[in-house]
Amino acid sequence: MIHARKLSRTFTRKRGKERVDAVRGLDLDVEAGTLLAFLGPNGAGKSTTLRMLTTLLPPTSGTATVAGCDIARDPDGVRRRIGYVGQKNSASDHHRVRDELVAQGRAYGMTRARAGERADALLDRLDLQELANRTPTTLSGGQRRRVDIALGLVHAPELLFLDEPSTGLDPHSRAEVWNFILRLREESGMTLFLTTHYLEEADSMAERVVIVDRGRTIADGTADELKSELAGDRIDLGLRDAADAERARGVAARFSSEAAAAPDPSPAPAEPADTTVRIPVPNADTALPELLAAMEGAGIKVATARGVRPTLDDVFLALTGRSLTEEEPTE
């Protein structure tokens, strides 16, 4: 559905004196029917990539075909096949919701009657019927977001781009938006390409996660793959005293997926209480019983034991030494 090769975009600011390489040689292949989450800190090039793939911005160099059409040679073909829900609200403040939906249908070549039918169907599907004749200024954030999604779906695209669809919404509206996105996907098999900075959303909803940083792809796979390949599991053991902890570290060294299990090699959190032992392992679920048996065999009493799965933030941290969540959007 999407094939991008060496896609790059350079912005020049201050009369050409300052060059910003927003996207540098990005390669990407997305199969039809995938739900892909595009992750990265602010300024990583997510939005710029999205704007190139949706023909809003021509690339400085590189090529991409989207929905079978070349973004540079046949932007019109791309536009007819894709939908886009931007970060900002797609409906204008002074236009009625239904009027905007009809106008959007007309923009895609529907007759007035067909555009009207389609508008009503989408109002119905997104539970917006009662807001049809209201203007967006009178709607809540969640309602406006639903209008945006409806506008992106007017022409039933085969590929839908969503830029931060759940940002700025309260938890209830976020859940509602996600609910709809997942249902939409199940029903229509539409390919969905979305950016988000909510890591847990990408983790639980997307089949494929692509992480970008400084204009390049730095990781690509399912959330589980990324986590086990790039961050790995961990077992936290709680012991009764420091002496036990020291002995436990010795035993644990055999299980560790890293050279030295003790002391805690991960740089992230401050050194935990010295009665805690952290052991990086390839798979926490299978390692935990074995580890406990080994402790038992060595005569060490384990007070608490916990298998810890890494988060996508751990993946980003492992790759870049920085945390994704440190760079919360400031908007």
């Binding site: 704007r51 949706t54 023909t55 809003l56 911005l57 021509p58 019109d76 073909g77 536009r79 007819r80 096949r81 894709i82 939908g83 886009y84 931007g86 970060q87 900002k88 609200n89 797609s90 409906a91 204008s92 403040d93 002074h94 236009h95 009625r96 009027d99 905007e100 106008a103 959007q104 007309r106 923009a107 895609y108 070549g109 039918e117 389609r118 169907a121 989408l122 119905d124 599907r125 945006d148 506008l151 992106g152 779906l153 022409h155 039933a156 695209p157 085969e158 939409l184 029903e187 229509s188 098999g189 539409m190």
Partner: protein
């Protein structure tokens, strides 16, 4: 659960013939732009106040400065007011575009397959529609005061203003796109441009009494030629050479505006 036959499943949008879709896209954008004014005409009614003020508070003063002289002053003044309204309306049209650019509405339309030039024309024509209503109102009120109506000349004059308005509107849209996100450039340049363009065109006062240098500056102002052409047309003349110059000026402004505006959209706009 609601049961609906309407499917969300992908259905490809068919390609259309370029010419037919161009006209459609102009119509789509125009209709979208004008719908809020039709639904809530109060704003539109208020814009009618401006020409009325000019007509009643400024028009009578012209007799005193000998513009056109005596009864002919309405023949001179009415087309001038219409040119001035064209300067204000379409010139400010970019403001709406700026707002939609800062929101997400413009982006949403740019992702659609609509023709970019058609999007500029559709928007500019909405401003012209407002102007058209103002023009009808002015003419209707001026006739009892001594304005002599030449229907063909009036039609030709309005057509000239439509072309000029589309060009001016496109330039205003271009400026709005270039000035996003702050918009300062837009406000600055429009404020800076609108008064010299107006004052140096003789729309409100005749240039004939000005010093030579002022008259020379006026001849490079396209608005001067459009105002001269309008005045000729409003006296029923179709042979005056000023009409050709006016038409040329209007066409040039439209060509430059549409070319630059379309190119700016292709290069990518946004914040």
């Amino acid at each position: 659960m609601t049961v609906r036959t309407e499917s969300l499943a992908p259905a490809p949008v068919p390609a259309r013939s370029p010419a037919a879709s161009f006209v459609r896209d102009v119509a789509t954008v125009f209709t979208r732009e004008i719908t809020p004014s039709v639904r809530d005409p109060l704003g539109m009614l208020l814009t009618m106040g401006q020409p009325l003020l000019l007509l009643f508070f400024f028009g009578p003063l012209l007799g005193g400065v000998g513009a056109g002289g005596g009864d002919g002053s309405w023949q001179w003044f009415v087309p001038g007011v219409l040119v001035m309204l064209t300067l204000f309306g379409p010139m400010m049209a970019g403001y709406n575009l700026l707002v939609e650019l800062l929101g997400g509405a413009m982006e949403r339309m740019l992702v659609s397959p609509m023709n970019r030039t058609a999007m500029l024309i559709g928007r500019a024509l909405k401003e012209f529609a407002v102007l058209l209503v103002q023009a009808v109102l002015i003419v209707l009120l001026a006739v009892p005061m001594g304005f002599e109506l030449y229907p063909l000349g009036l039609l030709a004059g309005l057509l000239l203003l439509a072309v000029f308005g589309v060009g001016l509107g496109s330039l205003s849209f271009l400026l709005a796109m270039k000035s996003a996100p702050s918009g300062e450039l837009f406000y600055g340049v429009t404020q800076l441009a609108v008064f010299p363009l107006m004052l140096l065109s003789g729309v409100l006062l005749p240039m004939d009494f000005g010093p030579q240098w002022l008259q020379t500056v006026a001849t490079v102002n396209p608005v001067t030629h459009i105002a001269d052409a309008m005045r000729a047309l409003f006296t029923g003349s179709f042979t005056d050479p000023s009409i050709a110059w006016g038409a040329l000026s209007a066409a040039a402004v439209a060509a430059v505006g549409l070319t630059l505006g379309t190119r700016a959209m292709r290069k990518g706009v946004g914040v």
